[in-house]
Each structure stands twice: as structure tokens, then as C-alpha cells.
């Protein structure tokens, strides 16, 4: 089972690297939207610094959301998902492997680029470690919750649009505590982000696996 998990993880990562366009598009979207914000709402430097945590989180969240509907879609279309479900890795393992691969391939690059954007948006340098920590704890939760939504809308009409309606409200708590963690010198929001990550780790694969089973029936 562990070998099947690692094989699936390696396959998804290999796919992500060889079809680099998806990751690059997500990153490009992240950079562009953040740039738009800095032109659109915060020409003044002091204002920009105050808005930076929120802008960074919202853009990261939207970039991840855009990439989420590909999580199972491509495999469902070419039949690979059906084969995976027949294999000896249980559906929960499939969800976990795909989420981990997706986080490594999509969220990690966002994390690497976030300091650059933070500089562009005038975020004070001493807040940078907090931003990285908050993103490190928050983005896996976003991917896990998004996986539930992505599994639910498999085969639905206008799935992408529906996906945003389903999971954006569930992203609100992560956004609230994520922004608070960057804005204040206080460890409580980080602890909340950690708690939400643990809860999502425990529950989201279960729900997503149940949804995958329904989709394959």
C-alpha cells in the first residue's frame, strides 16, 4: 500500500513537472493579481503595507482555487481515476497522495514567490517569517478542503463555477486566521491555522473519498 501511495505521488509530481504549464499559469495568475492590487487599491506606501497581508492571502487563495478543479478532472476524463480506484490503494490514500502532490506542485511555488510579492506590496520585512509560516499551515488546509469540492463536482454541469461556490465559503476561516497571523504579533491565529489543518487532515480525505466513490459508481 505504501508503494502504491509513493507510486501515485511520484506519477502526479512527474506529470506536474512535465506539464509545467499548469503550475506556471497558477503562479502567473498569483503574480498578476497581486500586481493589479498594488496598482488598483494601494498607491500609497503606508496603505499598501496595511493591505498587504489581506491581498497576499486572497490572491494565494484564488490562485489555488483556480488550480483545484484539475485535481481529479483530468484523471476522471481519461479513465485513469477508474483504474486507480480498482487498484489496491484505498480511495482515502488516492486523495491523500493527490493532495500532497498538488500541494507540492502548486502551493510550494506560491510559497517561494510570496516573499517577492510581499516586498512589492511593502509588507514590513519582520512580518515575512509570519507570512511564510501562515501560508505553510494554511495552504494544505485549502488544498484538502478543495479536494472535497473537486471530488463532489466531478461530472457536474459547470463544475468549475460550482466548485468556487462550494469551497470559497469554507475558505473564509483560513483567510481570517491567515490574515490575522500576518497582521498581528500574536501566536494564536497560527495555532488556529494548525488546528484547522489537523481537522482537515483527519476529515477531508474521508469526505473526498466518499465523493469519489459516488462519482465512479
Amino acid at each position: 500500500m505504501r508503494r502504491a501511495f509513493i507510486a501515485l505521488l511520484a506519477r502526479d509530481l512527474r506529470l506536474a513537472i512535465r506539464q509545467g504549464a499548469d503550475t506556471a499559469l497558477t503562479l502567473g495568475f498569483f503574480l498578476l493579481v497581486a500586481t493589479l492590487f498594488s496598482f488598483g487599491v494601494a498607491p500609497d506606501e503606508r496603505q499598501a503595507a496595511a493591505l498587504a497581508p489581506g491581498v497576499l492571502w486572497v490572491t494565494a487563495l484564488l490562485a489555488l482555487l483556480l488550480s483545484m478543479d484539475r485535481l481529479f478532472q483530468a484523471d476522471a476524463e481519461d479513465g485513469a481515476l477508474e483504474q486507480l480506484m480498482l487498484g489496491n490503494l484505498p480511495p482515502i490514500g488516492i486523495v491523500a497522495a493527490k493532495c500532497l502532490a498538488h500541494w507540492l506542485a502548486t502551493a510550494m511555488p506560491l510559497l517561494f514567490f510570496s516573499p517577492v510579492l510581499a516586498l512589492l506590496l511593502q509588507l514590513p520585512a519582520d512580518r515575512l517569517p509570519w507570512l511564510i509560516l501562515a501560508l505553510l499551515l494554511g495552504t494544505p488546509t485549502l488544498v484538502l478542503v478543495g479536494a472535497v469540492g473537486a471530488a463532489l463536482v466531478l461530472g457536474a454541469r459547470r463544475g468549475g463555477l460550482l466548485l468556487s461556490l462550494l469551497i470559497l465559503p469554507l475558505y473564509i476561516p483560513v483567510l481570517i486566521f491567515g490574515v490575522a497571523a500576518v497582521a498581528d504579533d500574536n501566536r494564536a491565529p497560527l495555532l488556529f491555522l494548525g488546528a484547522m489543518l489537523l481537522a482537515a487532515l483527519a476529515l477531508a480525505p474521508l469526505a473526498a473519498a466518499a465523493a469519489l466513490r459516488q462519482a465512479m459508481e
Binding site: V148, V153, G155, G159, L162, L165, L170, I176, A211, Q214
Partner: protein, 241 residues
């Protein structure tokens, strides 16, 4: 399972035909007395004056918003476990009603908030979590209609309803866990209600009225859904000859 007998849509249809009128009349009676007492006879608050009367609409709506969601989640669990056709019909029938209660709670709260808090809306934990509840309802409705295969939509929406149940305790306890602008509970407390009987009784009366009204509308909607399915099945048979 005593309820298994009613899981048969035909039997439910016959039972509900008898049940619907009395439930409707009882709802009307409770709402009339509760609202009449609350809006006209009950005393004004010493601080909020007459604005307090919106409570008789706001609090039962908010209770029902949560109650209906729990009801949908229960029906969804029953549907996923036993595949009762009736559980799906009831969950589908309840969702728009619950969404309306949630919207009503948000609107009345905001109308009360403007004179009392000085703002239509604040992003405190209670208000935000109820807004999330509204989106969960809308997502549930959208998802259950998003598939060409009706059953697929029912099962998928059922999973969403079960996922969203985590929001219910967050709504209930948000006023205790965080320092919210929304006041903490004054009726369902361990040390008894802190609200005077002249206001508590009409509040509870209208809450009973809201609950009966929900079941009245639920029965009506479920019945029309069953009839719709029968028509659909008959058309299919006819077209096949």
C-alpha cells in the same frame, strides 16, 4: 426502525395528505398568537425600546436555520446509509426553506443592527458563520441540481450536507468562543433563561409556530415532488409505449 414503514413514498403520500392541513392550521395559530403577543402586547425593552420586537422574528429564524440544516444532514445520512428515496425527497424539499430562514435571520439581524450597533453588518464570528451557512444551503441546492443523473446529484449533495455540519457547532458556540458583537445566548443556557417571561413566552410561541410552519411547507414541497416524479414516470412509460 419504526420509520421504515413511512419510507415508502406512496404511503408517505397518503399519510402526509392527512397531516398537512392540521399542521398548517396549528402553525397559523401559533404564529398569530406569538406575533400578536410579541409585536403588540409584550413590553418594550428598557434600552432597545420597540426595536426589541424584531427578536420575535429574528431568533426563531436563526434557530430554524440551524434546525433545518441538521434535519437535512440527518436525512442525507439516512439517504447515504439506507438509500431511502424519501430521505432524498425530504432533504431536497427542506433546503430552499432553510436557505430562506437563514436569509431572514441575516436580514432581520442587519435591520436591528443598524440602530443598535450603528452598522448594518460587522464581520464577527456569529454573523460570518451564519453567512457561511447560507452559502452551504445555496451550494447544496446548486449541487443537487448540477447532474444529469438525479441520483448522482442527491448523493453528492448529501455528502456536502454532512461536510457542512461542522459549521453548526461553530455557529452555536461562536458567541462563547470569541468576543463577538452579537450577544451570547439568553434562552438556551445552563443556568436558565435570562430573559423575562413577558418576552420569553411569546418568543417560544413564535418559535413553535416557525417549526410547525417549516413542517407544513416541507410536507407540501415533498408531496409536490412525489407527484412530479409520478408524472415523470408515467410520461416515460407512455413514450415507451
Amino acid at each position: 426502525m419504526a420509520s421504515l414503514g413511512f419510507a415508502n413514498p406512496t404511503r408517505f403520500h397518503r399519510l402526509s395528505a392527512r397531516l398537512t392541513p392540521p399542521v398548517g392550521w396549528a402553525a397559523a395559530a401559533f404564529l398569530l398568537v406569538g406575533f400578536g403577543w410579541g409585536f403588540i402586547l409584550s413590553p418594550p425593552d428598557y434600552q432597545q425600546h420597540d426595536s426589541v420586537r424584531i427578536m420575535y422574528l429574528h431568533v426563531p429564524s436563526a434557530w430554524m436555520a440551524m434546525f433545518v440544516y441538521v434535519f437535512i444532514a440527518l436525512m442525507s445520512a439516512m439517504y447515504l446509509i439506507w438509500r431511502h428515496a424519501l430521505a432524498d425527497i425530504l432533504a431536497r424539499a427542506a433546503a430552499p426553506v432553510g436557505a430562506t430562514f437563514t436569509a431572514l435571520a441575516l436580514i432581520t439581524g442587519s435591520l436591528w443592527g443598524k440602530p443598535m450597533w450603528g452598522a448594518w453588518w460587522v464581520w464577527d464570528a456569529r454573523l460570518t458563520s451564519v453567512l457561511v451557512l447560507l452559502f452551504l444551503y445555496l451550494g447544496h441546492i446548486a449541487l443537487s441540481n448540477a447532474f444529469d443523473d438525479r441520483e448522482r446529484g442527491a448523493r453528492t449533495a448529501a455528502i456536502l450536507a454532512l461536510v457542512g455540519i461542522v459549521n453548526i457547532p461553530i455557529i452555536k458556540f461562536s458567541v462563547d468562543w470569541w468576543a463577538t458583537l452579537h450577544q451570547p445566548s439568553s434562552v438556551l443556557r445552563l443556568d436558565g433563561p435570562t430573559i423575562h417571561a413577558t418576552m420569553l413566552v411569546p418568543l417560544l410561541l413564535s418559535a413553535v409556530g416557525f417549526t410547525l410552519y417549516f413542517f407544513f411547507v416541507l410536507l407540501l414541497r415533498a408531496r409536490s415532488e412525489i407527484i412530479e416524479r409520478k408524472i415523470h414516470a408515467r410520461r416515460l412509460r407512455q413514450s415507451e409505449g
